[in-house]
């Protein structure tokens, strides 16, 4: 057989790991001989029918395929041996090897070992060398084959948790098409970045942000230190030397990598953007939303209030929010980079009515709670909220026997009187939706002293009327008038300059002695002052008006 001859062609190339320019050799490939051509050649050379060779090789390759892919090493007659080989990253322990095998698997390939006869033929093959003139000689000549980068640049996150070497720029290069260079001087490619703070950085290869590899020019962004900007964007790509600019491309303003809110559910019900959710005062709603790129969400606000998402991951956010009043509630979800994305929803009843607070005689009447009232009493009620101007008496549900009169009304405040308040539910209903409900519980009225009289059968005086004591002794004696006054006892009466108090619950008779001057008798029930009575002892010579008989 004729002795073979191969050529090793040398071309100028940059060695990536040391940055030196060298001539690197590679076996020249003249052509790839097609399968049909090789079968035809073999048939002619060996006088074996072409169909026999084709059939035979088909059967041989089937068998080869079967055995090699099942872990056997297979010898092809006269040609060589094929076997499977596996590249796996080494592990520290057997357990790690087994558990992390898929992660550490670098590749499976088929290895070919030539037959000894073939090996000896290789050894006797003549080798020639050549230098590619277009290689080293053309250093510095840059061929920009195409320059079809996208119109807008994109901000790429550089998170601490991510690998240092990022794909983004590689993606840009490959997305449009490649910027290829036969040979490129070290400083030829200049990239201008803008960081998350808007500052510009121009960097040649070897700069702080990028690393490079040549031939089809793949550029990798690198984050070298932790304190580098979280986000960078490429503003301009330029390929130039001292004399010429071979390629220059400036990108439009960066597109912010802002998470978009795609779907919102409130208490499990889907809510469209600009939709309205009816809520009750004091109610806490659960908001769930789908957010793109949730990995980078670092701030969530609802109506300007910071919310801590209880669950962040896989694009889902769950928030608890207590609306304070009806109206628009913009939800903003902010990425680590720039401005927030806003999703508007409204809180409030469909008709726009919401109740924020209700008071009865100044005391709060809370939604969903139980409040004591004095049965039969009248209360001044104030209802504060929004959209209240539309409410009428028909919107209020009152306990049986209770009346209600609206004395003044505006969009935000209703002043009303509940008359003869009774036990039962107090509700506000709008469009069949109960927006407020409080249970009223009647309590027994306590002791009250409304007046007094001199004799058991005398005329009743108002409690505000003062009592005259004896001008000489200071003694006084009256009968109290009021409700449940038999529950009082002597110890419930006190006053400065008043002594010798004696009270008879069964009759309401009260006696005592006061010092000269105007004195105040305090009447208490269960520790609470329920009335005061003024007693006057005139100076000597004055009127002796006291006579309890």
């Amino acid at each position: 057989m004729k002795k073979g001859q191969i050529n090793i062609a040398y071309k100028g190339r940059r060695i990536a790991f040391n940055g030196q320019d060298k001539l690197v050799g590679q076996a020249s490939r003249y052509s790839t001989i097609a399968y049909d051509a090789i079968v035809a050649y073999a048939a002619k050379a060996a006088a074996v029918p072409e169909s026999s060779i084709d059939m035979s090789m088909d059967a041989i390759f089937d068998a080869l395929n079967y055995f090699v892919l099942n872990g056997h090493s297979v010898q092809i007659p006269n040609l060589g041996t094929f076997s499977i080989s596996v590249r796996v990253k080494s592990s520290e322990s057997e357990a790690e090897f087994t558990n992390n095998f898929e992660r550490n698997l670098r590749g499976v390939s088929i290895h070919f070992l030539p037959d000894p006869e073939l090996k000896s033929m290789i050894a006797s093959t003549a080798i020639s060398t050549s230098v590619d003139d277009e290689g080293y000689e053309s250093a510095g000549v840059i061929a920009v084959t195409s320059a079809l980068f996208g119109a807008n640049n994109v901000l790429y996150p550089m998170n601490a948790g991510r690998p240092y070497e990022l794909e983004p720029l590689t993606r840009i290069v490959m997305n449009g098409s490649r910027l290829s260079a036969k040979y490129l001087p070290a400083t030829a490619l200049k990239l201008t970045f803008i960081d998350s703070a808007g500052a510009e950085h121009t960097s040649s290869f070897g700069g702080q942000y990028i690393s490079q590899s040549y031939n089809a020019l793949v550029v990798n962004l690198k984050r070298i230190a932790e304190n580098y900007p979280s986000y960078v964007a490429i503003k301009k790509v330029e390929v130039s030397d001292n004399d010429n600019t071979y390629f220059s491309k400036e990108f439009a303003a960066p597109v912010e990598d802002t998470p978009a809110i795609s779907a919102v559910c409130i208490n499990g019900k889907p809510l469209a953007e600009n939709g309205t959710y009816p809520f009750k005062p004091g109610e806490t709603v659960e908001i769930r939303m789908l957010v793109s790129q949730s990995t980078f969400v670092d701030e969530v606000k609802v109506a300007g209030v910071d919310i801590t998402p209880s669950q962040v991951g896989e694009g889902k956010l769950t928030l608890s929010y207590t609306p304070l009043a009806s109206g628009n509630a913009p939800i903003s979800v902010k990425a680590a980079s720039t401005a927030a994305n806003v999703y508007n929803i409204s809180f409030g009843e469909a008709g726009g009515v919401s109740i924020v607070s209700v008071t009865a005689n100044g005391d709060p009447l809370n939604n969903g709670s139980t409040t004591n009232i004095t049965a039969g009493s009248d209360y001044n009620v104030q209802i504060a909220g929004a959209g209240l101007g539309d409410l009428t008496a028909e919107n209020f549900v009152l306990p049986q026997g209770t009346t209600m009169t609206i004395t003044s009304q505006s969009a935000t405040l209703i002043n009303a009187t509940i008359g003869n308040a009774q036990a039962g539910d107090f509700k506000v209903i709008v469009n069949d939706e109960e927006i407020f409900s409080a249970a009223l519980v009647a309590v027994t009225p306590g002791v009250s002293v409304t007046g007094w009289k001199l004799g058991a059968n005398g005329a009743t005086q108002s409690i505000a009327t003062s009592v005259d004591a004896d001008v000489d002794t200071g003694g006084f004696g009256i009968f109290l008038v009021g409700t449940d006054i038999d529950e009082l006892s002597t110890s419930d009466f006190s006053g400065q300059g008043i002594s010798g108090i004696s009270y008879t619950p069964a009759t309401g008779e009260l006696e005592g002695i006061v010092d000269a001057g105007t004195r105040t008798l305090v009447i208490q029930s269960e520790g609470t002052t329920i009335a005061t009575l003024t007693i006057i002892k005139a100076s000597a010579g004055g009127d002796d008006g006291f006579d309890k008989d």
Binding site: K2, G4, Q5, I6, N7, I8, Y10, L23, G25, S28, S31, T32, I33, A34, I38, Y41, A43, A45, S52, S56, M57, D58, A59, I60, F61, D62, F67, L69, N70, G71, H72, S73, V74, I76, P77, N78, L79, S83, S85, V86, V88, S90, S91, E92, E96, F97, F101, L105, V108, I110, F112, P114, L118, M121, I122, T125, I127, S128, T129, S130
Partner: protein, 126 residues
Amino acid sequence: MGQIKVKGKMQRLAVINDNRVVGRAVRYSTVKADELVSYAAGSSHIPEATLRAATLAMKEAISYFVLNGHHVNLGKFGILGIRSKQKSATDAEQVKADLVKRVTIGFTPSVEIKQAIASMRIQTEV
């Protein structure tokens, strides 16, 4: 779908001067040329003599082209071609055949074989 086994074995790695578990594909057996021809003959009804003649003819053709710098397509199996390993040079005058350290024949699997490899089951054993 093929299935291979990868065995992990603790051994000293000189590069890092430490013991590490290194994985290698388990080779069950070497199917000799005669066995392969017999198997192919049995599964295809092609006479063994024809298979032997065909492989010999193919070997001659393949080696002729490969050893003259061509790549040869083996149909659905892959491509055989020459591979070389040589030193780099700093200038054109240094470039000589002496720089070539090794010449061998390398195999690149076809797309079909690559897909078969990708779907292959791999078991581990330590």
